[in-house]
């Protein structure tokens, strides 16, 4: 190719939305506490966008770990109301650790286990079987699920086994001002 022809080609650096938002300190990773559940006693974890947050949440990746030797079912919910008794997760951090002070997310990660009441509100949009002794890693949703103030993204874990099963959920997302 001649020099002239090459000059017509524009080079661009391809940056994904998650990478860009990480550079801006707006990308967060949250992990639930240990979740215990069994037949008729479910477990749940999710990120809640507070009513007055002023941001939308752009959901990226979930991982679901199964520490047991039995598979179980997970349900993915948009905008479900959290169960009555929840704990707030403290293991939430920005993916960009180079910013001081570290940015804090507006979203709150919550979790609950051994719950007997059904989830109320919202929609159960899809489900995944989590095989035994494994970590299921979702594809990068790259922000195709967007949670407005007052909404939530959450995962319900269900088992038909009488023995207690241990699981952990990790969620990643970024936040943009409205």
């Amino acid at each position: 190719m001649s020099e002239k022809k090459i000059n017509h080609i524009t080079q661009v650096v391809d940056i994904t939305s998650p990478a860009m938002n990480s550079m801006l300190g707006r990308y967060f990773i949250g992990q639930s506490g240990e979740l215990n559940f069994k037949n008729k006693y479910n477990a749940w974890s999710g990120i809640i966008n507070p009513e007055n947050s002023g941001v939308n949440l752009y959901f990226d990746i979930f991982t679901i770990t199964n520490f047991s030797s039995q598979s179980y079912t997970s349900e993915i919910w948009l905008n479900a109301k959290p169960p009555k008794k929840v704990k707030i997760s403290t293991t939430v951090t920005p993916s960009n650790q180079a910013i001081t002070p570290p940015p804090k997310p507006k979203a709150i990660m919550e979790y609950a286990d051994n719950i007997t009441e059904p989830l109320i509100g919202g929609a159960n949009i899809f489900g995944r079987i989590v095989t035994s002794n494994s970590t299921l890693v979702s594809d990068s949703h790259k922000g195709s699920m967007i949670i407005g103030p007052g909404g939530s993204f959450s995962i319900l874990l269900k088992s038909s086994q009488p023995e207690t099963i241990k699981g952990i959920i990790v969620l990643t997302w970024w936040e943009e001002k409205i």
Partner: protein, 182 residues
């Protein structure tokens, strides 16, 4: 890597690349949803499908499907395009727009339908592909990025063959976007 030695005109610009699915979610046109649990076996088949109504005025662009096999049997799922599907279909209520920051949240024109325990096969259209689904697992197929384009009056169906003499349960989920036909 240092760019200082690179001539100014060769400094590449940084661009954020959005996938078509994400772009359509920003527009409120991307949807996710699933069938109810479907039952088949003992000689009876079942299906789950995305059905684009005749009067929808949109084309449907498929981005992803998943198949959850809740049984201990491997299953066979057949992909049928634009076929006439047998049985009385149940319309799913398990769906939502990916973009929940729009008030009120947008609703899809395309319907998710399913039928359990049928014997008739789909007719017309094309039996396009086949997938074997391992026991007790969710098969995921992502990032079609709109390769399958389904017009009004047409459908994308996953038809499950009876695995023999046991009754089994499965569930199908889809991700798709919709574009108005000009």
């Amino acid at each position: 890597m240092k760019f200082v030695i690179v001539k100014n005109k060769k400094q590449p610009q940084k661009v954020v690349v959005l996938s078509d699915a994400v772009y359509h979610s920003y527009l409120g046109k991307y949807f996710l949803g699933q069938t109810d649990t479907i039952t088949f076996g003992c000689g009876y088949n079942a299906w789950g499908a995305l059905v684009n109504p005749v009067d929808s005025d949109v084309n449907m662009y498929l981005n992803a499907y998943t198949i959850s096999n809740f049984s201990s049997q491997p299953l066979t799922a057949e992909g049928w395009l634009s076929s006439v599907l047998p049985g009385k279909a149940k319309v799913s209520k398990y769906f939502a727009a990916g973009n929940q920051s729009i008030t009120p949240p947008p609703l899809p024109k395309v319907k998710i339908e399913d039928v359990s325990l049928v014997t008739k096969m789909p007719t017309g259209g094309t039996y396009t592909f086949v997938r074997r689904v391992e026991p007790d697992e969710t098969l995921t197929k992502h990032d079609f990025q709109g390769m399958y384009i389904i017009p009004p009056g047409s459908s994308f169906a996953l038809y499950f063959l009876s695995p023999g003499t046991t009754q089994v349960q499965a569930r199908v989920a889809f991700g798709w976007w919709e574009e108005r036909i000009c």
